[in-house]
Structure formats: C-alpha cells, structure tokens
C-alpha cells in the first residue's frame, strides 16, 4: 500500500512539473460524493462547461484552462485534504465549496499557500470576518438573507411566526438571525425548533407546529424537506403560509410537493439565471441545456460558475496568475461584473456587494415568479 502511495505521489510530482507550465490550472473543490453529491456534481458540470467555452475562445493568456476537481465529500476532513491536493497541484485559484463548515476547514490551507479561494455555497458570516486576503465568495451572507426574510414576513403582516430549521450550520444561522430580528420588532415567535433532515415523515412536527397557531412559518432548511412539509401540510388540510430560505430554490421542490401543495409558497433567493435579462445568463442556460439536457439543479452550483468567471476575468485583466495581483483586482477593481446571477463586486473582506436577495412565489402552475 505504501509503495502504491509513494509511487502515485512521485508520479504526481513528475506530472505536475512536466505539464505544469502549459496550462492555467483552476481548482474546483466540490462534494462529488456524500450527502451533497447532487450539488457537487452540478458544480463540476457547470465549471467544466464554462472552462470548455473559454478554451474554445482561445483560453486564457494564450494558454488552455484546466479544471482540476477534488472531492470534498461534504466533510471537513476530506475537504482539508482536497484543498491540500489542489494546492500542491499549483492551481491559481480554487472554486468552492458547498457548506460553510466544509469551506472553513479549507480556508487556512489556501490562505497559507496564497491561493485564491472563491466559495459558492458558504453563507456563514464568520468566513469573511477573519481578514483572509485571498478568500472571496459569490454567495450572499446569512445576515443579509435574514434581513430580507424578516422584511418579507413584516410585509405579510404576521404577528405570530413559527421558525423551523434543520440544525445545519446554514439553516440554523439563518433561523437565529431571523429570530433575533423578529424579536426586536415585537413579533411573537410561537414555535422554534429543528427537524432532522433526510427523513420522510414530518407529520409529527407539523402537528406540533399547528397547535402553536402561527400566522406564518419561516422554514430555513433545504428543499427536500420543504417539499415534504408542504405536501404533508396540504394533506393535513392546514393552510398556513410558508416562507422558505434560499436553499429552497430548486425545481425539485415542486415535484416533491406537487403543484397544488406548493402554490403560494414564498422563498428567498438570489435571482436564478432564468430570471435575469442579461445575455450572459441566457447564453449560459442555453449552453447548459444543450450539453447536459436539463437546467442546473440549484442556484448554489450556478454561483460556482460565477466564481469561475470572476476568477478568469481577473486573470485576464491583470494578465497575471499572481495571487496578490488577482486578489487586489477582485477586491478593488472588479466592479459590477456581469455574472450569471447578476452583477458582481467584492468588498474588502471578499463578500459580494449589493442586494442579492429577492422574494419568489410559486404560482398555480408551479413556476417560480419573482416578486416585485
């Protein structure tokens, strides 16, 4: 076994030095296996599609772009290894990953090696609070979403709100943001608890929630559970309105819930490419559909595409693969870059600037309609 390890290691070294110069390597760290495999596989498809397009148009700085994917398995330890692997393969920058705690496990490794990291599905506030120079994210932050969510709840005029999360970092963070804001505004939180993701029957939770008599429910978890909640709520004959967090922006939600149960469901999300008038977005969708036959499964995967695009744009603009120059460009010079999910600029912490969140509503046909 050790022999194999050594051999492979030696081979990698040789490979890295021999072929290193002819391409520009961009790493993709994504959950290709494990519980978030569907997100990760989408990310890979999107980034590879964009890289292919870029190479067809002459590549970058006269070289081809090579995407090196590393599986983080949706687990911090594997993510740390994946990051090490990408770093040793001399990637200029790395895109990813999905899940804040997974991303966090890799942050220091990239930073210590001066490799740019552009996270896509990592919304925890603290990731950018550490002052890491090479860290960026195309996804918005939890506090931003919490603010928009509470705004929406206020607008609906709910006095008694139930908040349900799923105990993941992301959902709980959002739930806590929302709770704190709502309490300040004197809205009653009549129910606050967490479900266990991955189960099928949530009737026990719905029954309990129903007895708390909320005017509306804010569910901050993910679409598989949300679809089931909507469906089982409908079957229970309970007509409470639901507002979902941005992890619900997935067409499968409608399939799980059924259009009749999903109708009237509100959720928050950065705008999806389908809703953007820009040429970049519609071109991307067309190309994706052509190559893979479907539309992207989730907005988070699309955000990795944005990460790839801003990174390559910065390399192009600076004419360099030097991390300091690229980071500086991303921090200070990249302004209102036309991304797949709207315009992109970064602040000095590496957070995406601007109002990203919108409110969507599901109509009677099961379509996601952007609310004004």
């Amino acid at each position: 076994m050790r022999k194999i390890l050594f051999f492979t290691a030696a081979f990698c070294l040789i490979a890295a030095t021999t072929f290193g110069a002819s391409t520009i390597k961009i790493g993709l760290m994504a959950p290709l296996t494990g519980p978030w495999a569907s997100e990760g596989q989408d990310m890979k498809q999107i980034v590879e599609l964009l890289a292919g397009e870029l190479n067809e148009h002459g590549g970058l700085l006269g070289k081809k772009v090579e995407v090196i994917s590393a599986d983080d398995g949706g687990d911090p330890k594997t993510a740390a290894l994946a990051a090490q692997k990408l770093v040793t393969q001399d990637v200029v920058g790395a895109i990813g990953t999905y899940g804040s705690s997974i991303t966090e496990a890799s942050q220091n490794i990239y930073d210590e090696s001066k490799v740019i990291q552009i996270a896509n599905g990592s919304t925890a506030v603290r990731l950018t609070a550490k002052g890491l120079k090479y860290f960026f994210r195309t996804s918005p932050r939890d506090d931003e979403q919490g603010r928009v969510g509470v705004q929406a709840l206020e607008k609906f005029g709910y006095k008694n709100v139930a908040i349900l999360h799923d105990n993941t970092t992301y959902a709980k963070g959002l739930a806590e943001e929302a709770r704190a804001l709502l309490e300040k505004k004197n809205v009653n939180i009549v129910f606050y608890d967490a479900l266990t993701p991955g189960e099928r029957d949530y009737t026990a939770i719905l029954t309990k929630m129903k007895s708390a008599r909320p005017d509306g429910v804010f569910f901050t978890g993910y679409y598989p559970e949300c679809g089931l909640l909507l469906r089982q709520k409908k079957e229970m004959n309970w007509n409470v309105p639901f507002l979902g967090g941005d992890a619900n922006n997935n067409p499968d939600l409608i399939k799980i819930a059924g259009t009749d149960a999903a109708e009237g469901f509100y959720f928050l999300s950065p705008p999806v490419p389908q809703d953007l008038p820009s040429r970049e977005a519609s071109d991307f969708l067309k190309a994706y559909k052509k190559k893979y036959g479907t539309t992207p499964g989730s907005i988070w995967a699309v955000l990795s595409g944005d990460g790839f695009r801003v990174l390559t744009a910065a390399i192009k603009a600076t004419g360099s693969t030097d991390s300091d120059k690229v980071a500086d460009y991303l921090h200070n010079k990249l302004k209102n870059y036309p991304g797949l999910t709207g315009t992109i600029s970064f602040d000095d912490k590496g957070d995406r600037v601007g109002e990203v969140y919108r409110v969507y509503r599901v109509n009677a046909k099961g379509e996601f309609i952007l609310q004004p």
Binding site: M1, R2, I4, L5, F6, T8, A9, A10, C12, L13, A16, L32, T33, A37, Q41, S69, A70, D71, G74, D75, P76, K77, A80, L81, Q84, K85, V87, T88, Q89, S100, S101, E104, A105, N108, E112, A124, R126, N167, T168, T169, K172, G173, A194
Partner: protein, 319 residues
Amino acid sequence: MRDHSKIIYSTMTVLLAMSPLFLNKYWVDVLNNVGLYAILGLSLNIIVGHAGLFNLGHAAFYAVGAYTAAIFNTRFNIPVLWLLPLCALSAGLFAAIVMRPIIHLRGDYLCIVTIGLGEIVRIALINDIFGITQGANGIFGIDRPSIFGISIRRPHEFFYLIWGFVAVSVFFFHRLENSRFGRALNYLREDEVAAEGSGINVAHYKLACFVIGAAWAGMVGDIFASKMTIISPESFSFWESVLLFTLILLGGSASIPGVILGAFLIVGLPEVFRGIANARMLIFGGAMIAMMIFRTEGILPSRPRRYVLPDESSGESRA
C-alpha cells in the same frame, strides 16, 4: 520468519520517517490522516480486537476529546498540547460513566447501544448542549499546537507530531497487550463464562478497555482539533465509527501492524481512487467485501504471543 518481518517493519519505519523529504504537502497530509486513523484504530483495537466487543460508536469518545480541547483552548487559551491529559481524562470519564450501566449487554445489543451513544453525542453537539459546543457551526479558531515555542502548522510539521504520537501509541499498546491486562481481554473475548470462572472480573475489564480506548481517542481528538482549527459535529458521524471499525478488521484484528496497515487502506484507497471521482466509493465498498472474503482474518492477522519459558533441559524455550 520473525527476523524477516523485523527487517520489513524497520525498513517501512525508516521509509515512512523520511517520506516528508520527498513527498509533497498533499501526500504528507494524507499520511497525517493515516496517522490519526492509525492511533484511533489502535485505541479501538483494544475494545474490538482484543476484548471482542462490538463498538460502533467510537467517534463519540473521539468527539468528547476534540470538544474538550476546543472548548478549553478557545475559552481559556490553554495550549492544545497541555490539554492532552485533560482530553484523555474527559473522554475516559465519559466512557466510564455511560458504559457502566450497559457494559453487560451482549454482542449485537452492545453494538446498537454504542451506535446510539454515538448518535446521542452527535445530536447533543448539534443542539449546542450546555451552550458550549456552538451547534452545527462547530468551534473555530482553535490554536495550532506548539512545541518549545515552535508553532506547528504545515503538513510536514504535523507529520512528525502525529507519527511521533503513533510511535508512542504503538509502544504503549504493545506493552499493554502483552500483559496480564491484555490477556484478560483475550480471555473474555474467547469465552466470558470461562474467563469469569478463572477469576477474571469480566465486567471490570470490559469497562476498563472502553475507558482506555476512549481516553486514547480523546487525545487524538485534541490533535485533530488543533490540526483542523475548526471542529464541527459532522466530523464525528456514525460513518466515522464505521470506518474505524472497518479498518481494524481489514488490517487484522488485535494486530498492531494490521491496524496501521488498515489505516493506510481506509484513508489511502479512497485517495488513490480519487481519479475515478464519482465511483470511488463504489469501488471502495466492493474492495471491502473482497478483502474480507479473501483475507477473513485481515491482511496482517494477529500472531500468538511469545513467552520465554524456564526449562529444565535447555534453559529457555519459546511458547
């Protein structure tokens, strides 16, 4: 035969010790993970390999150690390496308390109870028990270890810390298994009733091996926490316990070289299969079945102990 294997083992050790000189960061970090799993495997081997107790919840003890380190380091700024004894103590004490009432359960009943224990701990961590574990976020900002003022941060530096710990563990566990204590565990694995009937306090030894195994895993938790600088409940899932259990049986139950080899397999195989991306775990699963069928006792099964016997005729002989 014995001398032959001695040569192999010492060559391996020298090769391993020198490997950071010619491996890149990534492979050194893979070796670091192997090392962590090797120590965890050795700590579980006392329970599963020697005492034959079905423990599929070892991640719970590991988690207690890691969280002890994280909490005391981030709140009271105690250097992580100083926390090693405390981590051992907390994990060992935890094992002693929770295993005490259930230690008499047999085989598969013990199995589900340890699984349950692992899940309870994980759920408790997620739900921010006592307000100290910070829920699913986990605890971040844990210090890197430092020895004599030198901070350990790069994989190559961690390599010597971790594999040094592996060496210490091998040293102690080797002594432990070749002693009255180690034998007692084997007796109860072979036949509980006969062990008790030979004067061995079976319940005591079952509990003791859990406590020692847990304490050792707790120390690994400390190193793990300081290596990752962030720990969260997902690092201590049921899957983690399954991996540890598997590595022991793949490598060779109750065999120290076997357990270390098992750690290489369980960490190394998926890394080697990285090239096949999506299918790597499929192959891994298939390999597990195949290895068990072709090497039922593991790849390096345990060997009988050797004793130096007084003998009237030749002075001494082997047994």
